[in-house]
Symmetry: C2
Subunit: 341 residues, 2 copies
């Protein structure tokens, strides 16, 4: 049996203390990250520079000895790898040329995807060779629905009106986009496994805005295919789903997709999750990132409650979403020490 | 027994067809609203002008013969009535001077609230005298947590960091603000009942971003007090809660608050709601507003499914959030006819 705590948790083992890592643990809250970021040109330049991407992935491991490192990259490298224009404006989020026509889909360069994303795969490979032996390597991708929203909206959105309009008004076009993204995601994640990723996490950050039927069709179904195909080809791979905001649909998601782990956003009630989800999958989460930025006793109490309720079964301590840039690094230290005491 | 379908539904009666009204039914999607809006000065000027507010409240009733009219106003008249600066920038949402200090709370003018909101109460009174006899009059307010977020953030927010920081970092200050808002809400809604409102809806639009414990403390608990005090004073009043995005907390909310009706956002699974909520309260909702803007057969199918699943018990057909400005008025006509056929 592996000695990596993260892999043992995802194999269903209950551990005390549980493994811990944080979403966006390599990021702007760390001064050493901001220093590298300042040297790197654009954000995508950083994602595509294996020397620097390996370094920033290592930074939080050196500081906090997390039980897992997550590849430093972004979910939007997939549309970029398919040939779309993607850029990041500091503080404003990503900007893409929106997709709206069948000809836009014809132009997606599926053949060129892995060639374009070769630098990311090189980063995975180097990480797998350099991380501490206790530290598991997590690869990741955005789930197709979430990636599709960025491609259709041209960036972030308040109400995802353009995405939903295409979904309901141009169902064939939308289905084709989703199929392309599902296949691209499988190819990209498979290549990450071959480069050394031991766990894969799929971020469906915007699944929580879908009505029930559309959630089943566009969040769950693509994930069923992704998990089935990757597990058929790489039986040892562990897969974590993060359908953020899924609320009442979390249980359907876990049952249908057969993920090994399920990442919970900060709104999921703990006793409910322990009773309804933990028998089916390893739980991961779910501290409110703003509470980590606040710190102090309110954070301590939330950590203790989290460990008390979810620590009785297979569990990975984490946040309910990415750590926010204003988080003092000493709060992360306090959090990690509290989990491990 | 009243012949008003909305009141019968809220008394627990199953009706076929169910009553129907739409959140934001008086609004920018109607050309006749835009015409009045253009004459009215600022948005708050419109809210405080009984002649015009009565007219825009009537407009959708004339067009669609809805079973209920909701007072034309805004949830931010309460902070404005307490003396805070509130303005609305077209297309950008509300702007308030943010609250952050104890002295800000000392300045809240609770005594002056109902005097400042007298024009809104005059609108309620005139509506109760002029609406068709089949049309119930709904008064409303924002729930304290949601109103507090606007007051603390100074407007809308992406992550509500300032509100959560105050909640966790300055718990006494935050509790005092919430107590003031709870009492102000009770006073304001009581005055609406005395002016002729037959139903009250409380919009907790941002309750869905709270973790479990904070949801109980800051969304449910104030609502428990609001419902209990209003029902003690006005035993006939019907109260609908709308904890948008509450997900797995919807059931706790219904059980604890003892609302007569519960408004469901568009993500709530229908069979789950029929089984877990409808035995406890009348359901209201929950079409995706963007689907109504899209229209066509996708809308028809969703309406049919909604009626099939929720129409077997006490139910009010509505949307899962406010109608969006780009909705073609003919789609609303199609929707209403489909519900009533």
């Amino acid at each position: 049996m592996t000695t990596k705590k993260l892999l043992r948790a995802l194999a269903g083992e209950t551990q005390s203390p549980p493994p811990v890592w944080l979403m966006r643990q390599a990021g702007r809250y760390l001064p050493e990250y901001r220093q590298i970021r300042a040297q790197a040109g654009t954000f995508l330049d950083l994602c595509y520079n294996p020397d620097l991407a390996v370094e920033v992935t290592h930074q939080p491991i050196r500081r906090y000895n997390f039980d897992a490192a997550i590849l430093f990259s972004d979910i939007l490298v997939v549309p970029h790898g398919l040939g779309r224009t993607v850029s990041f404006k500091e503080g404003e989020g990503p900007v893409l040329t929106p997709i709206g026509l069948a000809t836009d889909l014809d132009g997606l360069d599926i053949q060129g995807l892995l060639t374009r994303l070769q630098p990311v795969l090189e980063t995975v490979k180097r990480l797998s060779q350099t991380l501490p032996s206790s530290c598991a390597l997590i690869g990741f991708a955005g789930a197709p629905w979430t990636v599709a929203t960025y491609m259709i909206e041209g960036g972030s959105s308040k109400d995802f009106a353009a995405s939903k309009r295409m979904m309901w008004n141009q169902p064939d076009l939308f289905a084709r986009l989703m199929e392309i993204l599902t296949d691209a995601t499988i190819a990209y994640l498979g290549a990450q496994v071959e480069a050394g990723a031991e766990v894969l996490q799929l971020f469906d950050s915007w699944s929580g805005i879908l009505p029930e039927e559309e959630f089943k069709r566009w969040s769950i179904s693509p994930m069923v295919k992704i998990v089935a195909e990757l597990k058929a080809k790489y039986p040892a791979i562990k897969i974590v789903g993060f359908p953020k905001g899924a609320g009442l649909m979390y249980r359907n998601y876990v049952i249908d997709t057969k993920v090994d782990g399920i990442s919970l956003d900060w709104t999921v009630p703990l006793e409910w999750a322990a009773e309804n989800l933990q028998p089916l999958a390893t739980l991961q989460g779910n501290l409110d990132p703003i509470l980590v930025a606040v710190g102090g006793e309110a954070l301590d109490q939330a950590v203790d409650r989290l460990l008390t309720v979810l620590g009785k079964g297979p569990f990975i301590a984490n946040l309910g979403h990415g750590i926010i840039p204003s988080t003092p690094p000493e709060n992360v230290d306090r959090l990690v020490k509290r989990i491990r005491r």
